[in-house]
Symmetry: C2
Subunit: 404 residues, 2 copies
Amino acid sequence: MFKTYVGPVESEDNVAYLRPETAQAIFAQFKNVLETSRQKVPFGIAQIGKAFRNEVTPRNFTFRSREFEQMELEFFIKPDEAVEAISGSVAAPTSKEHPGEPQTDWGWQLWHQYWVEERIKFYEGIGLPRTTLVEYWQKAEELAHYARATVDILFKFPFSKRDEKGELMGEELEGVAARSDFDLSQHARFAGKPMGVFDEELRAGWAKLPKEKQDDLWRRYYENRKKYLTKMGVEAEAASKQATEDANGLVKGQYVPHVIEPSAGVDRLTLALICNAYSEVIETDAKGKSETRVILKFHPRVAPIKAGVMPLLKNKPELVKKAREVRDLLRPWMNVFYDDAGSIGRRYARQDEAGTPFCVTIDFDTLGEKPELLDTVTLRHRDDGRQDRVKISELLTLLLEKIR
Amino acid sequence: MFKTYVGPVESEDNVAYLRPETAQAIFAQFKNVLETSRQKVPFGIAQIGKAFRNEVTPRNFTFRSREFEQMELEFFIKPDEAVEAISGSVAAPTSKEHPGEPQTDWGWQLWHQYWVEERIKFYEGIGLPRTTLVEYWQKAEELAHYARATVDILFKFPFSKRDEKGELMGEELEGVAARSDFDLSQHARFAGKPMGVFDEELRAGWAKLPKEKQDDLWRRYYENRKKYLTKMGVEAEAASKQATEDANGLVKGQYVPHVIEPSAGVDRLTLALICNAYSEVIETDAKGKSETRVILKFHPRVAPIKAGVMPLLKNKPELVKKAREVRDLLRPWMNVFYDDAGSIGRRYARQDEAGTPFCVTIDFDTLGEKPELLDTVTLRHRDDGRQDRVKISELLTLLLEKIR
């Protein structure tokens, strides 16, 4: 970690460290957010921000660096014992697929699976095909002591190692961990502030359970809490006492939420998007001369420039005026690059190289040379060079649909 | 500043400081951005990011803190001598108003005035009326040594000091400085990398000037460069030699751009927005009981939640279904809060307190109880409680126009 001193004196009292991860702020603020945002478990708190690690060997461009951006979600769920008390049983995973819309009888396993699949859907949604990703389930011996399951989502970077078959093995973009109630419990213990919630559904559900079921759930919750406390070094007697209190709380609708944590590196993701987008085409001109052109095939959602706007010719004031109107129409809604320099082919090529998914060209038909084409423009698509004729009045809606 | 060490050893070789401002990265990367983005002077580079200052007395909530977010624009312009060579003369400011669309004959004074007024327009555009702002022109003796003019834009915080008339004096949100060519020149000198640009317009314009004018501009540019170098401690002879080289460069279309820098604190601005939005109303119910309600009157552009979506009753499945459809219609485009708990009046009041500018209510008319109102909703406005009837098919466009 990076160490520094806060205040004028460099004394041990004033030592501070740059945070090596962003997640802890969410746990520290959990009760505050819960109480002010009118949410009920299950719900999540997401955050994006800088983290700093004093890496000895930063490497692979922005893959491993000392200052980086993290994005994390702490998704808080009911402990399985509470789910069972409310719904009668905890649903078991039936396949490896996305489990669909969340249900009240989901325990940590299905929530974990849900978030793994949601996160992969997110990556697919910004242009990383599933074939470029690896879903790696950590083995029991690899798991952090508090984790019940962790799935790493890897991207096959060009600099990744290869396995014995020659396949890229991938590097971690994100980890999706089922962290039990470890984090909130630790904060509660060391800050001396209760981190539990009251769940009216649980209280009402518990009262309706047969005595046998109540005893069973009480025992299991007690055992889980005791296990956590003992693992953390609390002495047997104190652990039993605390676990008894916790299980008695469950009866009244109280528990410490469990957490599913998808945690991703933003810089890594950006690097993955660039690697995935990079492609080259070889084009041969009329004279037989070949040229290699670069196209960055970013998904429209993540392309830094969404549209290039171009008058066919820059020395025709009517074309320029119309092109500027189109630019001003789009600009409040998206990043637009206005370009009037050089041949239209060169201008398209420049936007291809910058990864701009759409080019809008204003030509003489826009001005009404063919009356039926008045106030239409050419919409040119980066990846296949396809050109459509689009009404200016429909352009904004059409592009917004593609980039949102 | 905050001091730390990079790498495993805490030696003087490994000392690093957390950046106390974000601007320098823009200057260091100036040539890189210029060469890859196909921009010509005048153009700007904007940046937002964290900065850190080891303040001895952080105070006034988030007004002065040790870690803060800055947003800055370095807007690069031609030196006045280049403008004069190209346009024949440099336009003089004629009033204190916004000078309108940029013109090629603007020198640093009009560009500075332009950015001061643009920045005030920005603050007005997110809901801070001009009456809450103070435009403070720094006096000659207050200016930093490199600055030709600096305007501070202040906001009248409730904790600001008052002048002898009892008026709030305001605290700085932003400074807009005309920094001459100081920054790029310093980077050029200490990094040993040229930071000048080549300007084809200047080269072409210069060639057409009468000899007398050329000599006059050469001399003035020479004097300005020499003054800068001497001030920076360069010896007279070396300064003369360097200034001669620089002025000879001007003849060929080369110069170091000057800069106008609007630099603002994001946390301060957020605090200003909250202070400005906070208002209370006293409401008296039918029984004569008074209650104070808080309304956060955020401009729709900056309100954290844009719309509350509410079925009139939560136990009517048709209302709930329709309300969820409306929520799903809006949610890809804006932050929406779905609320079905409590009376509709209480739900409105909760959104008022969170600063949500619009509430959308789905009632029996939405379902067609009055056939002419089928698929319309109530749109309720936070600040005056006004209620309009709006078609669901027109809702998204209407709200997007208000929040963009």
